[in-house]
Amino acid sequence: MNFRGARWLVVITGLGLTGALLRWLSAPLLLHRPAADRPDVRAETFAGAMGQGIALGIFGGFRPLVADFLWLQVQDRWEARDLGGTLGHLRLTTAVDPQPLAFWLNGARIIAYDMTEWRLAGLTRGDAMSESVGKRIEAEQARMALAWLREAERFHPGTPVLQIERANVQLNRLHDVAAAAASYRSAAELTDAPYYAARLHAELLRRLGRKAEAYAWLRKIHPKLPPNDAAAAAGLVLARLRGLEADLAIPPRQRYRAD
């Protein structure tokens, strides 16, 4: 081996040994970070974004700004009702910066609602006549939106608004009331969940005919609602409880706050 080759070998061996030695030191450094900022979690979306010439945004530190400009592109494609362009730019935006929830939430709504309308509007008269085609498109878009939200939850685990959005899609597009009720419940059980998630869970249970479950749920949540917070709507929840007590013919003594 010549002199220069030996130098390379020593350098590469030295760096390799250092890399192996420092693995134990570097691994815990990522653990405290939010999932949306963990390079190991983001690596797959990184790979998708790299081919599109936006490396500067990824490694240069201007990630949020690049993502914002890409979001403008999403709006531009959305106005043109360009399904492929909108979806591509949505994916690119969240690949560059998966932190802002607004990108994920608006993306899910665009996929579930707007894209369904675009596809339906593009159908020929014959296809449009067929109700089953419309339902199939609606279901396809809803499933795509749910997959999008699952991806969002990888970066933002335990975020109530994402679970509420999932419930909304399940309810309004898949018309799966039971699944929506379960999603509202899982949202309601998270910290910082908005009060309405719990109310919607009960309302859907009532709609499914599971009134006893709805009653038990409302009895559980009502004592925790702050009476002076309009968003908590403690009075409304109490009214629902009374209505369910009447429906379920609960004896007066067993009623909630019977005294």
Partner: protein
């Protein structure tokens, strides 16, 4: 050179001269003005902010400027200052005297780091000031919101600035290692930027080595992830809200990671330069 013992004083003198030279370079003035201009102008770009809070956006923008221009400064200044000595033959004159090559390399890296330190400190302090004034304006405009709702922890900002500085230290040592092999400063600068990219894409190499079925690709990706330092570890700006929660232990780990890489890369640069024909 073994006739005289290794001297930290000579390292210091070379570092001082290098720092003075670096501070006189146009590239330093240019990147400093551009970075500070971007930090000051971050407020003007807030119309393009759709996802994060205004102060977070401004902080991200400022750290973006620090990353880009700090990387440019580190790579270009290291390569230019090293090859400047070789091209002007001053290195020959210097090394003909009782000066170790290790002292020369350590002095060079010390001088570059002094300039990078000034750059990081100025940009981080300016960013801190800009964020403070904007926060005060926001509080005056929206007194109904609590201060804690919109404040960014100054210690977290400083911690992110320090993390960038650590990264530039590793990058300077890496560039010097490349320069110890290279024949021209242009080659060192180009390879330096390629290395910067590879170090930032470290997670991709790890992913590829874990996922691919091809043993060749797995081997190459595994080697890349083993050989190069992971610069994503230093990018704390996106998770600035959780920097405080991470605690001092994480920052100490980061300092140890950077320090060990800096030492190894510096030692390898010394080794390589010792075996270089001038």
């Amino acid at each position: 050179m073994t006739a005289v013992p290794f001297s930290l004083r000579r390292v210091w003198l070379i570092a001082c001269v290098t720092a003075l030279e670096a501070a006189r370079q146009r590239v330093f003035h240019l990147v400093l003005v551009l970075a500070m201009g971007l930090v000051l102008g971050a407020h003007a770009f807030r119309e393009f902010n759709f996802g994060a809070s205004e102060l977070k956006f401004m902080a991200d923008f400022g750290f973006g400027a620090l990353t880009v221009f700090g990387s440019v400064l580190t790579i270009v200044a290291t390569a230019q200052l090293f090859f400047g000595e070789l091209e002007h033959r001053t290195a020959l004159t210097l090394l003909a005297k009782p000066v170790w090559r290790a002292e020369f390399i350590l002095g060079k890296i010390g001088g570059v780091m002094a300039v990078v330190t000034v750059f990081c400190a100025l940009v981080t302090l300016l960013l801190l000031g800009t964020l403070y004034f904007r926060q005060q304006t926001l509080l005056a405009e929206h007194p109904e919101l609590s201060e804690s709702a919109r404040a960014l922890d100054p210690m977290a900002i400083i911690a992110v600035g320090v993390a960038h500085w650590l990264k530039f230290g590793v990058l300077a040592a890496l560039t010097l290692l490349i320069a110890s092999f290279a024949r021209t400063s242009l080659y060192a600068v180009i390879v330096g930027f390629v290395m910067l990219l590879i170090c930032h894409l470290h997670p991709l190499a790890r992913l590829a080595s874990a996922r691919t079925d091809s043993w060749l690709l797995r081997g190459v990706a595994g080697m890349v992830s083993l050989i190069f330092p992971d610069f994503q570890l230093f990018d704390l700006s996106a998770s600035i809200d959780s920097v405080g929660a991470a605690g001092a232990a994480s920052l100490i780990r980061l300092v140890a990671y950077a320090g060990l890489y800096f030492s190894v890369l510096g030692s390898l640069a010394v080794y390589s330069f010792n075996r270089r024909e001038l």
